[in-house]
Symmetry: C3
Subunit: 356 residues, 3 copies
Amino acid sequence: MNRRSYRLEELAHLVQGEYFGEKDFQISNLASLELAQNQHICFVNGEKYLAQAEASDAGVYIVTETLKQQLTQKKNFIVVDNPYLAFAVLTHIFEAKILQRGIESTAKIHPSAIIADDAYIGHYVVIGENCVIGANTIIQSHSFIDDGVEVGKDCFVDAHVTITGQAKLKDRIRIHANTAIGTEGFGFAPYQGKWHRIAQLGSVQIGNDVRIGSNCSIDRGALDDTILEDGVIIDNLVQIAHNVHIGENTAIAAKCGIAGSARIGKNCILGGASGVVGHLEITDNVTLTAMSMVTKNISEAGTYSSGMGLFENSHWKKTIVRLRQLADVPLTQITKRLDYMQAQLESLESTLKLRK
Amino acid sequence: MNRRSYRLEELAHLVQGEYFGEKDFQISNLASLELAQNQHICFVNGEKYLAQAEASDAGVYIVTETLKQQLTQKKNFIVVDNPYLAFAVLTHIFEAKILQRGIESTAKIHPSAIIADDAYIGHYVVIGENCVIGANTIIQSHSFIDDGVEVGKDCFVDAHVTITGQAKLKDRIRIHANTAIGTEGFGFAPYQGKWHRIAQLGSVQIGNDVRIGSNCSIDRGALDDTILEDGVIIDNLVQIAHNVHIGENTAIAAKCGIAGSARIGKNCILGGASGVVGHLEITDNVTLTAMSMVTKNISEAGTYSSGMGLFENSHWKKTIVRLRQLADVPLTQITKRLDYMQAQLESLESTLKLRK
Amino acid sequence: MNRRSYRLEELAHLVQGEYFGEKDFQISNLASLELAQNQHICFVNGEKYLAQAEASDAGVYIVTETLKQQLTQKKNFIVVDNPYLAFAVLTHIFEAKILQRGIESTAKIHPSAIIADDAYIGHYVVIGENCVIGANTIIQSHSFIDDGVEVGKDCFVDAHVTITGQAKLKDRIRIHANTAIGTEGFGFAPYQGKWHRIAQLGSVQIGNDVRIGSNCSIDRGALDDTILEDGVIIDNLVQIAHNVHIGENTAIAAKCGIAGSARIGKNCILGGASGVVGHLEITDNVTLTAMSMVTKNISEAGTYSSGMGLFENSHWKKTIVRLRQLADVPLTQITKRLDYMQAQLESLESTLKLRK
């Protein structure tokens, strides 16, 4: 944690908001409404948090004008249009920064590698032939940057990351612990009952401002490259297979898997544990809810879903029995037959009435 | 493997059981019924394993009184109430222990870190500022313990583990290889078509006796902490997002993913590859079968399930066609309409009969 | 990338094909049809790629006799029966090889370990007591080979791999970055509301030519061993639990999970993110499509599937409502009742007609 504290006026200025209350009020940290103490600042993310805000011990609240008027018992505020965004900005103020610069004596760097003077290379990092590490980039302990890999400026590569396959990373990229980038794609030619390995000759290109979580696997391409465009954000334990292409600003939640050569558009959101089959295309602005299974192209923007949700176990068992019968039940005919028989019945009834 | 061998009497004493047969019989290891040799001890976990036990070459059998009476051809036994538990106890006797203590010369330890004298710090381990490592704790090769992390006593941290985000770990915790704890949560504020990173200021708290498998990701909280209570056990490749709270003694099988701020109760069991959506609550004593998908709160204890199970492929394809029609078929009306028409038919029939 | 270039005649010889055109044409690399330049060689994998081949700038094409006759505008060819296989062979020619041999000075090797003279042991590798590393095997930076582990010849172990649990690996095995092999299985005996750890005493056996991707977890057995037979290929982020047995040449795509003691036959293909429940058997030659969920034995070869595929979100919501009603709808009776009522109706109608 950054030990400095800030005055209300200072923080309001940083988020381009207006302050109300004691301009010199000292704020030592951000906190949740629930656990905040008097020296903390909180954000109120809509009307549904008003009751929690009223009960909070926080000293200062980031709110909209409307929310402020409803918090009549509170004294200190920062008023902004978008409290969540202001909160996002302030997290950077209170974040503990890695201030070390230079190369730890235990790092092994190939003489041909070019490391910016103000980069930080942690303990036991290994950097190979012809690598480039840009200005202000931090490579944490034990990371392995294989021959020919280039990392831009202002990047953060956490501990135990492997970057290989001559991957090229641009600027302001963050890669979290134990992730593997540029590893060999899963390519095998079946022949006479055996799998013949296809050595992977493509690489990985990662655009500006990309974020990759921990324990992810991003494979190098078979011939062309695997590509993550600018602004892509990826959570933990995600698989990106060889030759996948992810468009700008697409967000991929934890545990997703994208199979080989799939092409995902811009501004998509993939819910957790979703799977995308290989060699297909998803257009821009597609949202998948969690655990979706994509087996065909998606050519229209929109929200898509899979999965039957959760059932109480005995209800589920009965449902599965029915589901197994479903293939033999001509669903669309049933209603038609019912309508037809209803008509027959009514005709019979009127015939009978006429004969009375 | 521990090379010592044990006498039947010794082992019976260790599991608080009664021995039958040669009290000095030498036992060199535990084994499965199938592969056991004469110097091995096996356990018989219920009547369904009696045939396998009869055919086994093991020298000694851990059994209940009832099972013993049915194994008339065998000579040496340890009789207990719960053979599986006795087996669990004995595995610890035959396990190869890590006996090294002290700090390997290749480990890099910040001068401010406090390491217990009888801890073991393996090769190339990096331990940061103000860390604490408790008595009898083992940190295997290459692990990275970042600034401010505390690990209690009698813990085991396997190779290539990353612990960061100022995580606090209590006692008797086991963390397996290549797991990342305390890494940054996946928090971004969308604004003007881009994702704005929310620096994560919370931490991770891990209770006593917690077990975390290999290749897991346990993220630090955004403001408050991610919390695993005492006795939680977690298998491999599991994702625990920021601000998740897992109650005591809950077991999470491999490949599960728990999204941000979800709260899971005590004594739950999550089957493999289950997913829990963010910001919801699961009460105590809930069991999810494998590959469950939880999108709503679960407020009643019980067993829950998802997923349609496996179909032969052509049956599956037909089922999916029907499933896509299902939305347009008024299922609950069909039976009602059938009943109604049946009544009409019967009324017509009786009218006709009356007119004979 | 290997900097050498090859003559057309040379490459044709290497794939046992026939060349047409300029036998001395210099080829510097393999490429995709789309991005190839004149000095590149491409393969044409069937008629559907003919248009792309015609538009390609590649200098040489690997084709079948039939395809060659249709590419009338092109000059240089290698003709083979199986272009995809020829391509697979040539990737090995153009692959950048790791040429270093010997032991880096920063590696920590126990004096009792036996390392072949022509093996390569990378920076900061740790190799324990009684380990064996075979001829021409490469162990990349930071890998941890724990006591008693044996690795055969011609293997490749990438960075940050953990091999423990006395695992025994045969020859020509490739293990990608950040994978953990031989880690402790998830075995706990429940007793009085707590989980009692079962120390895992089995090991892992990995056959010849096995390939394991990045970020995989392959646990050691509880008593007997976890076994991967010869020729098994495994993609990234796959979980193989304790005592699993995988038969020869079975392929497992990314994100699959195989639970404890499951037994999978030979020549199976498991689509991505499939799950197999513990203690069951899958026979030889079974294919699972992506995201399959196997909860019962599969005793017949064939293709099997799970999952409802993707729905537009509002269609999905309606479908789920119906699915929740399904348990109470006697599907198989509906058609029978319809048929029965139809017969009644017709009988009534004919009765009425007779009475006219």
